[in-house]
Symmetry: C2
Subunit: 261 residues, 2 copies
DNA sequence: CAATAACATCTAACATGTTACACGCTAACT
DNA sequence: AGTTAGCGTGTAACATGTTAGATGTTATTG
């Protein structure tokens, strides 16, 4: 791969190093044929959707680091598709705030901007506390059973210090609560607005030492839902979410290079 | 323009009738050159951005009706651009829920779905009540002056039954309150999540007979902000936003064809 | 005559070619 | 030495060609 001599390290893409972070022989599958598309609400999985999913995952999981260049052409060839679906996917990621596109210049994994994270945190707080109120009011035994099962698995994951697993269960729990509010598409909106936060949380995983505290907070949330106490549930959620802020400053000290100006 | 005999009226695009709703001689301007793009946070205005703005405006203002087909190629030729920026703009609108894309079939202005509107209403409520709490706490004389000036203009618009102007001032007021919360990018998020609601409100404009009531509600909101009373401000905003729900059912009776299944 | 298979047609999805322009570099000029 | 103008390069933006598939229609078959 040719690099201009003048390019700073920031410009170099790891897509160029070796066989690439996205792995080897990707052959993206197109959806199989089916009639009556418009009537059934089939979720069409096009190539751009698949590219989007792959890149989003790579960014949130920090396989691609903030500030790193994304070379569309390389991504395209690595995934075995043309530039078009890659561009489409990247446009969507730009809307979501996960990449920064500089016209005629380049595309970069978005750096972390404190002000944007603050906004995302605010939005998350507003949405999830509002959602849990509804959920608490309409909670069912089935929901509680699933929440408690999830909590139990969290406990086990915490016992064996399995950060990744714990993180996934945590996410799943928040999704459950969101879904249980009974509002179509709310989870998708919440999850989209949460992507900035998720990225930070992933980076924090290995500094994370408060799984026990988190477990207790989760327990309080579930108890409040069980008692159908909307106010207490909202309060518990608020307490839980606000913990993030403190950890964030910690990350900024440890890894300043991930942050924007 | 050639139409297949079998095409139902739903499929016919008004882009095909006469010189088109988007008007005559559009020549989309590209941004002029400027150095240091990445440092300054200049908002780049590309063609796809312009197409996006034009189409979004057309949809929200109901120049394009729900369910109507959007013919990319016609839009492209009417705007004097190629299909690419049009596709990009439409993808973005699809993310926003303003158009429905059926793969290999067609693109349509999104119909109104009660469940989606309900979700949008919920999100709007959550975000704007949370935002106004912050705004109330940090309100300044300058903000209050601008809000009161806006309110005064609302009063005048109401006097001369200028619905459009009233609507615009209303929107501007909500934007101001959102901005005053002091969170980067919050207005953009709120405005995006509000687009479904805005569309409904536009359609309701001509059935709207509650400008006086709206004015009173706005007054209550501003008063609460002036007193820096976060709880009362949030309550006033909640009351204000919840009025929408009732009007919505009214619209569904009057114009059922705009709604999805 | 109903069910179904083959076909025609139209459009989004995808591929690829081309252009404009942002940025780094360098050289000229003050 | 600091500033600016011009050039080279690489990328996103844009244009356009091609393909696949969803749907309506028609033909075919029982």
């Amino acid at each position: 791969m040719l690099l201009r001599q003048s390019q700073s390290v920031e410009w170099r893409s790891i897509f160029g190093s070796g066989n690439g972070i996205l792995g080897g022989d990707w052959i993206l599958q197109l959806r199989s044929s089916s009639r009556n598309y418009r009537e059934q609400k089939v979720v069409s999985v096009t190539r751009k959707d698949q590219v989007y999913t792959i890149l989003r995952q790579a960014i949130i999981s920090s396989q691609l680091s903030p500030g790193e260049a994304i070379r569309k052409e390389l991504v395209a060839s690595q995934l075995g598709v043309s530039r078009t679906p890659v561009s489409d996917a990247i446009n969507r990621l730009a809307d979501e705030g996960l990449v920064e596109i500089y016209p005629q210049t380049g595309t970069f994994v978005a750096r972390l901007w404190l002000d944007k994270i603050e906004t995302a945190q605010f939005v998350r707080m507003a949405l999830e506390t509002a959602a849990i109120r509804r959920t608490a009011e309409r909670s069912t035994p089935e929901l509680l059973a699933r929440l408690r099962q999830n909590l139990e698995r969290q406990r086990k994951a915490a016992d064996r210090l399995d950060f990744e697993q714990f993180y996934e269960l945590d996410e799943a729990m928040h999704d459950m609560i969101c879904d249980a509010a009974g509002l179509a598409g709310l989870r998708e909106i919440a999850s989209k607005e949460r992507s900035q936060i998720d990225r930070v949380r992933r980076l924090l995983l290995h500094y994370e030492t408060r799984m026990i505290e988190t477990l207790i907070e989760h327990e309080a949330i579930i108890t409040a839902i069980a008692e159908k106490d909307a106010n207490r549930a909202a309060k518990a959620m608020e307490t839980h979410i606000s913990q993030m802020g403190k950890l964030l400053l910690h990350l900024r000290e440890k890894r300043p290079e991930l942050f924007g100006s």
